[in-house]
Amino acid sequence: MTKPWRVNVFGVRHLSPAGAWHLRRYLDALKPRMVLIEGLADASGLIPQITRKGTKPPIALLAYTDSLPVRTLIYPLARYSPEFQAMSWADEHNAKAEFIDLPSDVFLALQDVEAELHAQRRRAAAEDPPAKGPEAPPPAETPPPPARPSVYEQYAERAGEADYETYWERHFEHNLSDDAYRLAAYEFGSSLRDLEEDQPRWQAENLVREAFMRRQIEKAIAAGTPPEKIVAVVGAFHAPVLTGEHPAMTDDELASLQRRSSKFTLMPYSYFKLSTQSGYGAGNRAPAYFDLLWDALRESDLAGLPSRYLSLVARHLREAGTHRSTAEAIEGVRLANTLSALKGGLAPTLTDLRDAAITLLGHGELSTVKDAIAHVEVGTAIGELPVGVSRTSIQADFERELSRLRLEKHKTTVQQELTLDLRENRQAKSVDAAFLDLGRSSFLHRLRVLGIGFAKPMRTSQQAATWAERWTLQWSPESEIHLVEAVLLGETVELAAGFKFKSTLEACASIADAAEVVRDACLCGMMASMDAARRRLQELSAETSEMTAIAHAAHVLGLIVRYGDVRKFDPEPLMPLVEELFVEAALAMHAAAGCDNEQAQKTIVAMNEMNGLALEHADRVDEALWIERLRRLSDADDRNPLLSGYACAILLERGLMANEDLAREVSRRLSPGVPADLGAGWFEGLSKRNRYALLARQVLWALLADYIGSLDEDHFRRSVVFLRRAFGGFNPREKRQIAENLAEHWGVSADTAAEAIESELTDAEQKKLSDLNEINFDDL
């Protein structure tokens, strides 16, 4: 090329509605024959798919490596993306559209390099621990600590804004003057380039990309489109250097770049997913709001946006049952406008609107309007693609996992069974082979969590065996659909499961749900998710003081700790939480014991679980506290007697109650005058455990016999109900032993007693018994 060329460059911020709006006006005025867009050069073939009729944004262009480790690149496109509008414009006006950024194989290889550097740094940090001592904080993930604010934050601060997003919105998104956006973005890009950023790698990557973009532009010019009929749509940062004055990439340079074989596809995307991706262009935090902004711009009704935002928030509040008047929404609009004027802005930014909504509609409390705001700002929109367009990375990942785990032969529509032994196969030669079944189990559990109906767990007969699992496998078209949908959650099965756990956790309301997630994450072999679930569980435990729930969660965690061995993970991080829950449940027990008999049955289960934990992890949990609380409950007269008796039984079983103490307690509980339901109820609780210990204590039976003897007719009839229930669980042999105990007390020989019991009932005795059955339950 002889003289330096100059094409029309439009610098944008990705996902910027005003950018899209100005860009369309710019294109309308200029009528270019070719639009060049910052995007993967080898994905240009997808542009017709993107602009096709059945495509409804948000969608994303996804590039991924077809081998391990999987690296992915995602380019989300919303309705208001300048890039999307550029493609649509080109389609409507028969102009050509092409992507000009580095091809995906080069980009993905760059990620490999990045990951390798990252790993090196981590290794270096791990081998060379800082000399501060054991308490030193773990090395940060990213090497340069954010000691000084980033360039972007500096910009915001200079303009008196709290954050960069607000700065951008105030200065770029509301200015409707002709060409204001392009010129301002150009200036902004140049000044960004001038500021020295201490990130050589990042800079180098940009220089390579820009050289390649220039190469692509030159190619387009060489192919016959005059430069003045070309518009390049790129990030504001790149805009200043896309001229012929800078060198374009040569063939040799291009050939020297590392590559990794890659594939790409389009996939449906969601606004929710968009809002959770940090660090990607404007509009990502509040996609639905930016959607509103885009509509407002197109209808030239920017001034109406605050009213729309606040009335939507008010409407969501009303739907959720919180009434807010229209007057409050109107005052909110006024407040937002004034807040914006205070900063010299043209229109309220999202921050202004949100603050106005909190002040007026939330009456000062964010929590009141939080859900409504999330609805209006993030929204629930999901994109659509025509059938057959998508071949997603998660499908590829699924196939790859199947072959790695040697499960391909199970991918048939015929139902098959699979039995897994999670223990190490000591004959196997490689690590992968040795833990093949464990890997399979994790994979199948991940599919289960994602709701992909390929594999269903079957109950194993050996419930207690932590190493055996049985599954039924069956492939169906529904599974395929679920798999494709799962790509919205993540690019691989593992990432998708991780995201699923994350969202389940956010929705988790009870400690039991969270405990289930901990268990699932453990079964899936996903330690990061398990850790997140553990934190959530801890949070939730602060909000509940229901003993049964806390004890159950502690019990589930205790079980998981037992899995640790088989599933090859370190259960240590779970232990502090088990300890905490144990303390919480122990403290909550006394209050929980003041309940009716129905609830008492559940509390007994919880007490069992607690006692099991105390025995199994005696070295870790606060056993002394548990015993102290048991004693307190055992001594208490104002709690459910069944539970007091049960606490006493546990103490007895653990050898923490001397014979004479038991005798005193029995006689106290069963003294005349104590209502029969209380006394007998207590005895029922006591007799629920360790029968042999009870049977061996003659003194107890003597006391019981005296007690029953002391009851008058009415009280006796009442106590029969409870005593029958108490003895209902004893087997015949035990019952005989009781009879012998009593016989000894009454001075009858054991043989006579046995005879008496085994002989047929006489009619008179039969009658007496059936009389006893006719109890007037109204008394109780």
């Binding site: 006024r334 407040l335 004034t338 106005a356 002040t359 009456h363 000062g364 949070e539 939730l540 003081s545």
Partner: protein
């Protein structure tokens, strides 16, 4: 009065602003007269009707900065955005309601806003359970009323009525302490912006610039809830407790030192370490999570405000001075903390016990004496 210095308004600068040493405490517009003059002189932006300075200038006055060569001391630190919202509210002639726990500088902010905007923070209704509707609207000089019948001369306007006549700000302190029917007198004043005086067959319309700044404490016991109708007429801002532990420690230590001198407590001021521990415990229990954010906690039923942390420390000083060695010991602290954390017996006791064994116990040797003392107290 006890609330005055909780925001760290700098007293030395205040007195260098000149004037009025004779009264116990001069109003903000007198204490900071010099700053206000400097700001007004340099103010280039448009002023809303009835305002002495522009909204941006008010913001500078409250959050600090410099105008020309005058340094403006920050009056309210940490939450600039809330001040922006408060000022914008007053620009839109809406009434402003500041809600917060004790010690979050509600009255302080309201006084300074009025001082900056009108140069007069004195039109105040001080709400109590005994406040009547006359205190809100108007009352009469009864001698004159009986002698000459109703006349404008016999009318005694309330601060709110005076503010309406002059187009300026009125303040309503502790509005939730008033009976609900008295609170409701504000409804028609705020929506119609007039007070009718049937005895004189006249009506006083509010001049532009009139607005009301009310303060309220919703978490205390013994307050009357505001009706939804009244709430709708206010823009409500909830003032948070100090943002960082450092700022809270600063506020608490300053106040404890002041109190020690004022009340002539015979003990040494608690060490910085003790103050930090108390503030840490209060913050953790108040926010329901540990400072490092790693563990969530149950919160006790009490408010546990900054003001209460101050009184815990003062209390333990009184204990140490009168019954102890004069040095504040962990045991002195423990009994004072126990008293303010455990209010509703059984439930709070469990919360406190949980906190002690799940958090304090694991904090290491430094916390051991305080943990031991607290556990002993809680038994």
């Amino acid at each position: 009065m006890a609330k005055r210095s909780t925001t760290g308004g700098d007293e030395q600068t205040a007195s260098s602003n000149g004037a009025a040493a004779a009264v116990l405490r001069a109003p903000a517009e007198v204490l900071f007269a010099r700053e206000i003059e400097a700001i007004i002189a340099a103010d280039k932006f448009e002023k809303p009707p009835g305002w002495r300075m522009s909204p941006r200038a008010v913001l500078t006055y409250i959050t600090g900065g410099s105008v020309g060569d005058t340094r403006i001391t920050p009056k309210y630190i940490g939450h600039q955005r809330l001040v922006e919202i408060a000022i914008s509210t007053l620009v839109t002639d809406r009434a402003l309601l500041l809600i917060g726990e004790p010690g979050t500088a509600k009255s302080w902010l309201s006084e300074h806003l009025a001082a900056a905007i009108n140069g007069d923070s004195g039109k105040v209704v001080q709400g109590t359970a005994g406040t009547t509707e006359e205190n809100v609207r108007y009352t009469w000089n009864y001698a004159m009323l009986i002698a000459r019948g109703p006349s404008p001369e016999a009318l005694i306007p309330s601060p709110i009525l005076r503010a309406m006549e002059s187009g300026s700000l009125a303040r309503f302190e502790e509005i939730t302490r008033c009976a609900s029917e008295v609170q409701d007198a504000m409804i028609s004043i705020l929506s119609e912006k007039t007070i009718s005086i049937p005895e004189l067959k006249s009506e006083v319309p509010a001049k532009r610039g009139f607005s009301v700044i009310a303060t309220a404490n919703t978490r205390d016991k013994g307050v009357n809830d505001m009706s939804a109708a009244l709430k709708r007429r206010f823009n409500i801002i909830v003032l948070p407790t100090p943002k960082t532990i450092e700022s809270e420690i600063e506020i608490v230590s300053k106040r404890v030192r002041d109190l020690a001198t004022n009340l002539d407590l015979k003990a040494k001021v608690p060490t910085a370490d003790a103050i930090e521990k108390v503030v840490t415990i209060f913050r953790e229990l108040r926010t329901g999570q540990t400072l490092d954010g790693k563990a969530k906690l149950k919160t006790p039923s009490g408010v546990l405000s900054t003001a209460e942390a101050i009184s815990v420390l003062a209390n333990s000083m009184a204990l140490a001075g009168n019954f102890g060695s004069g040095d504040v010991s962990p045991l002195d602290l423990a009994s004072a903390i126990q008293g303010s954390v455990v209010k509703d017996e059984e439930k709070d006791r469990v919360v406190w016990q949980e906190y002690l064994s799940n958090v304090l116990k694991k904090r290491g040797a430094e916390w051991r004496p305080l943990y031991a003392a607290c556990s002993e107290q809680n038994d």
